[in-house]
Amino acid sequence: MDDASVSPPTPPTPPGPPARAATPASTNHIARAAIIWAVCTAIAIVVFLLVAPHVVEWGILPAAASNRSDEINTVMWIFTLLSIPVFFMVVVFGGYAAFAFNRRRGRAGGTFLPSRRLPVVWIIISFVLVTFLYVYGLSFLNQVNAQEGNNPLVVNVTGEQWLWNFSYPQYGNAQSTALELPVNRPVIFHIQSVDVQHSFWIPAFGIKQDAVPGETTTISATPETIGTYVVRCAELCGLYHAYMETPVYVVSAGDFDTWVHAQVTPVPTSSSSSFIQPNVLPAEAANRASWRTSSVAEG
């Protein structure tokens, strides 16, 4: 910086009255920036509306396979739409200032002193936005909290290092390490853990609930599309956390009945009563997840 040695007034000296009113500007910068902002926002919204219907088929969002996933995607669209103008508000006005008022353009500098109005307007707009998002989110919160009625299927989920166990108390405690569900019937998951905290997550259903040792937590959803999905653990739970996955098969009611009755004599899977050897060999853990390459491509 050649010009780095500008000598400023020392602060103890009163610098006189605050900068006087702005010299009449030849260009209306606010209007220009506002136009750029409006154009950017409009383009981004159009692009978003064109892209949004395809994100599932492009694999950006997991398949929407339950009543929850549609709600979640709706909330996500609304939030994204509202974020676009806010993002461009900051970026366009900041970027415009950085270019238009750069001292290389030879401007001697102007002033833009706070009016009383601008902060007030800013506060009001941000409160309105936040209130809207809150109330909107709240209405969905009530639906998340709502219990499923109408003959729900109860599934007891037990997390343990590093696999999931499922049992079906309405079907003689049929047991399985893969999750099989009938389509279009509400499911209530009662979730437990026998060792450390895990988190029961089915991305395609849009549900997640921690498995907490000593507590039973609950979440519900209604699967709506037949297919193969996946349960993942979403809480770091030790050595093979990355492999703590298991498939979810959503099948027709008839197929489910056949399957669940075949499970009634419990196969000796590991469960809370049998102490599993935690020292799983890495090869075995990787083996456990080997199904993921073949069957879950669409999930």
């Binding site: 780095a4 500008v6 974020s83 002033t111 936040v130 809150y134 969905f140 905290q197 809480e235 993921r292």
Partner: protein
């Protein structure tokens, strides 16, 4: 040679002797036969060893000499002695010993923080290398989880220190017109505590690794150290808990000192409304550090008790392979952790708010736009940040009926944050903008932090959080706030105050190359990570479904660019510090007090304490026009 007594050398020697004495005392005098029901003597030995390591270090560097002299003789050191302790005429050695001058402490902090960021960045490099492709590429999961834990915790320790430490110590006292901090010896002590804490922390991988208990050595928990897995995991956890408790002490002592300094040591006329925003930001952060840290320290103490004395704060008895004796609750751990953990992320960001406001004002040659709103923003975030922690537990099952309230506070906090954006945009508008390196980084804060903030609003919404919690979306979000927001401001602050702190200019050309590498690498890497999160990829996994391969590959490649560019910036710092262009006292034409002192800043900063008569950065039409006229070729050559 006599100068080395006391110094860090004697400190290190006594520390090692202390560790050996402490651990051997436990093994030989108390016991070494670990029984399932009895105390864990091995880890008890570690803790006692670390404690004596720490005390040996303090004795060795001479930190306890003055308190003890005072206790024995009840005599305060006279002025001359104080000056000797502040490193008067000691030369370069004063940076390697217990020195009370706040400028020495600031430089010590700066170097330590850069080292911590370097180690943390190394962790990021290893993580992204492992995640470049699906499948187990480089490490066993045991090693990978330990790296993830250490990367997270070390980066948190670095980022909660990297404003309060270097700049809160070096710059803030000069900015408010003080001769030193309120408690100079406490100040030196808070740095002296952090050094052994980091040494102990870096020893984590060497504890219990390889002699697995079936649940892995090192630390398998992630930086959140939730119970009961923190009880189950390897011996590295005991090292981590001890180290972080010590670092917490350092943080609280430093914070109390900063708060007291700002409240009591301001120069005449430096009213609250005349402080630069940096001071406000660091003040808010210090309040959070002083009030929040102890909650995490308690959490870690309970973990140590659970591990060593087999108490059961976090473990419920469920039979089978349950951890501990039972009766405890894992939700306690989540609450203790996040009561600290959430204010802590604002602790990182508040000084960034302040610094970015000041930098933008100086390089726009305008007073801060709507100063009071900026202060309200910073202090509003400071207060509300204590009321939002449950949003980390939306899916934990704990108190679901409270979710509506925490959702409200969480979304509310975006309002004061928005104030800061108004201040920044208003200050830029119609300024006379000088695009220096610090200004570039400050402007990148606008772009990055607005993305970080908006993605945070997604997560504050319970239905969306149920889907995105614990996934890569969250990881991308908080990297946008901490790297994109705070780290960019740290780079801005380093570039801005480099001339004052080192007497040399930071090389602009290298800085610009690094800047663009950092911005491009960071944005592509983490936008791509948002995609992985939306796809359903969980956090902190050593391996993942091939469905996430593309997003992770892009993230890794651009993360390498980011890491290489940060390394270039670090190289720039080192090379400019050694051989940069000599700086004049006020190269930026800034108006705050620290730039009115000569460079290098003399021992007690001011010959005469200045009297302040105006708010900060009162650039006026006249001064800016005069400056423009004085520039060669009316600014065409500038930039």
């Amino acid at each position: 040679m006599r100068k080395l007594f006391p110094s860090y050398l004697t400190g290190a020697i006594l520390a090692i002797i202390g560790y050996i004495a402490g651990s051997q005392f436990v093994y030989h005098r108390i016991g070494s036969d670990n029984q399932p029901a009895g105390p864990n003597f091995t880890e008890q030995g570690m803790v006692v060893g670390f404690a004596l390591f720490f005390i040996g270090w303090l004795i060795g560097i001479g930190a306890l000499k003055y308190p003890f002299t005072w206790l024995l003789a009840l005599k305060d050191p006279d002025h001359e002695e104080e000056m000797r302790l502040a490193g008067k005429d000691a030369g370069i050695i004063r940076y390697f010993k217990f020195t009370t001058d706040h400028k020495v402490v600031g430089i010590q902090y700066l170097v330590l923080v850069l080292i911590m960021l370097g180690f943390g960045g190394l962790g990021a490099l290893l993580i992204r290398s492992e995640l470049m492709r699906p499948g187990a590429l480089l490490f066993p999961t045991e090693t990978y989880n330990t790296i993830v834990t250490m990367h997270g915790m070390l980066m948190i320790l670095a980022t909660i220190t990297f404003f309060i430490g270097p700049f809160g110590n070096f710059i803030v006292p000069i900015m408010i017109g003080a001769r030193d901090m309120a408690f100079p010896r406490l100040n030196a002590l808070s740095f002296a505590i952090l050094v052994p804490a980091i040494v102990i922390f870096l020893s984590i991988p060497f504890w219990g690794y390889g002699q697995a208990n079936g649940y892995g050595g090192g630390v398998q928990t992630g930086w959140t150290v939730y119970g009961p897995i923190a009880t189950q995991t390897g011996m590295g956890m005991t090292a981590l808990a001890t180290a972080v408790i010590l670092a917490g002490f350092s943080s609280i002592l430093g914070a109390v000192n900063v708060i007291t300094t700002i409240i009591t040591m301001r120069a005449p006329g430096m009213r609250w409304t005349r402080m630069p925003m940096t001071v406000w930001g660091i003040f808010g952060a210090a309040l959070l550090a002083a009030l929040g840290t102890s909650s995490f320290a308690v959490d870690l103490l309970l973990i140590l008790l659970d591990r060593i004395y087999k108490t059961s704060f976090f473990a419920a008895s469920t039979g089978g392979n349950a951890v501990g004796a039972g009766g405890g609750n894992a939700w306690l751990s989540q609450n203790l952790f996040w009561f600290f953990g959430h204010p802590e992320v604002y602790l990182i960001v508040l000084p960034a708010f302040g610094i970015v406001c000041d930098v933008v004002a100086v390089f726009s040659r305008k007073p801060i736009f709507s100063y009071k709103m900026g202060v309200l923003g910073i202090m509003g975030v400071c207060v509300v940040s204590f009321l939002v922690w449950q949003h980390h537990e939306f899916v934990s099952g704990w108190a679901p009926e409270l979710r509506f309230w925490y959702m409200a506070t969480t979304e509310l906090i975006s309002v004061p944050t928005g104030f800061v954006f108004l201040v920044l945009l208003g200050t830029l508008w119609r300024g006379r903008i000088w695009m220096t390196l610090p200004m570039m980084f400050a402007l990148s804060f606008l772009w990055n932090f607005v993305i970080g903030g908006l993605s945070g609003v997604f997560l504050s919404d319970v239905p969306l959080d149920v889907q995105l919690h614990g996934g890569m979306f969250v990881t991308a979000h908080f990297h946008y706030t901490i790297v994109g927001g705070a780290l960019m401001c740290f780079f801005a602050a380093v570039a801005y105050w480099f001339p004052k702190m080192t007497g040399r200019m930071l090389d602009e050309k290298l800085g610009w190359i690094a800047f663009w590498g950092i911005q491009i690498g960071f944005n592509v890497a983490f936008l791509s990570m948002f995609i992985a999160g939306l796809q359903g990829m969980p956090r902190r996994v050593a391996d993942y479904d091939p469905a996430f391969a593309t997003a992770n590959f892009i993230t890794s490649i651009f993360a390498f660019l980011l890491i290489a560019s940060v390394a270039l910036y670090f190289y720039n710092i080192v090379i400019s510090w050694v051989a940069g262009k000599k700086a004049v006292a006020n190269p930026w034409g800034a108006l705050s007090l620290e730039w009115q002192t000569p460079t290098p800043v003399p021992l007690e900063n001011f010959e005469e304490i200045p009297v302040v008569t105006s708010a900060p950065f009162q650039y006026t039409q006249e001064t800016v026009e005069a400056e423009a006229a004085a520039e060669p070729a009316a600014g065409q050559a500038a930039g």
